[in-house]
Symmetry: C2
Subunit: 149 residues, 2 copies
DNA sequence: AATGGAAGTGAAAACCATTACCAATAAGGA
DNA sequence: TCCTTATTGGTAATGGTTTTCACTTCCATT
């Protein structure tokens, strides 16, 4: 329940990156939110505590975090990218239902175990056949939510 | 092998839409390509045969076709949307490997039968639980292709 | 054939999320 | 503390997509 340094602290030095205040703040914001935040969402949130942090830095940091595998980047079709913390001690593997009417996103983690089993198998087959190293996957179900149909 | 009117001809009148030259041309371009075309790709292709057709119409038409379910729209992370004809007599259900290094997209249709089986099941469960009507799904495997790893 | 309303179109301008640029700053090992 | 270099923030561009608006085409009805 209590502290200790956040679990991502170690990840930076190893790559030759520095752990800075903006990076802390952005990771902290991501870890506290359960939504799918846009770059601007994150900028506004971070900006309250650290008004000096600029939007450019948010974009740069997100790109870095995605490259490091700490954050997932999604496109749900609303014209801006959405970010969420990758699986860690506090987040579970899940996929998404995307409403084409209102853009609502529903996370689901039911049955991901079954999915995962089959996807792992498929991933292995594809890796071999196409000489492609897979490091993550996304599943989107598209349709209409209860309010929109 | 030979003609008859394209299979999509019927789909328009039913919705109160008209079958026009630009729409014909765009569908024709999509049906002849095996790649994942951007709006500009389509514009350039269509423009050769019909120099009068504008980029705006391409965007508008693609939006319409996506709404009608005749075309799928994808975001593979290269900053522009990509389109491909939905499944018909000539196209098969498939999913994608997306290379984070060079952006290469690999279509695969191996094992989609197994996927489909499980996804149909999962889709039903989710539909019911979230009162959400699913009309399509996408699976992306992200990683590095042989040239990039 | 003439008419009128609705659907469709193209050129240009506006939009806006993201990126490039560059001078200034801060992190962290020696 | 000093030095090297990663990092940052403001501003200006970039570029894919959307909006606007006047004009054209389609088609059901006189
Ligand atoms: Mn999610
Ligand atoms: Mn494809
Ligand atoms: Zn909805
Ligand atoms: Zn590649």
């Amino acid at each position: 329940m209590v502290g200790g340094p956040p679990w991502w602290h170690g990840k930076f030095a190893g790559y030759g990156y520095r752990m800075t205040v903006p990076r802390q703040a952005i990771l902290s914001t991501l870890s506290k939110s359960k939504k799918h935040l846009s770059a601007e969402d994150i900028y506004l949130s971070v900006h309250k505590a650290y008004p000096g942090i600029g939007l450019t830095t948010v974009y740069r940091t997100l790109e870095l975090l995605v490259r490091m595998g700490l954050v997932f980047k999604f496109d749900f079709g609303d014209g801006r990218s959405r970010y969420e913390l990758a699986e860690g001690p506090n987040t579970n593997h899940h996929h998404h239902l995307v409403c084409r009417g209102c853009g609502r996103i529903i996370d689901y983690s039911e049955l991901v175990d079954e999915e995962t089993k089959i996807l792992k198998q498929i991933g292995q087959t594809l890796s071999k056949k196409y000489d492609f190293s897979i490091d993550s996957h996304q599943i989107h179900f598209l349709g209409l939510c209860n309010k929109c149909k």
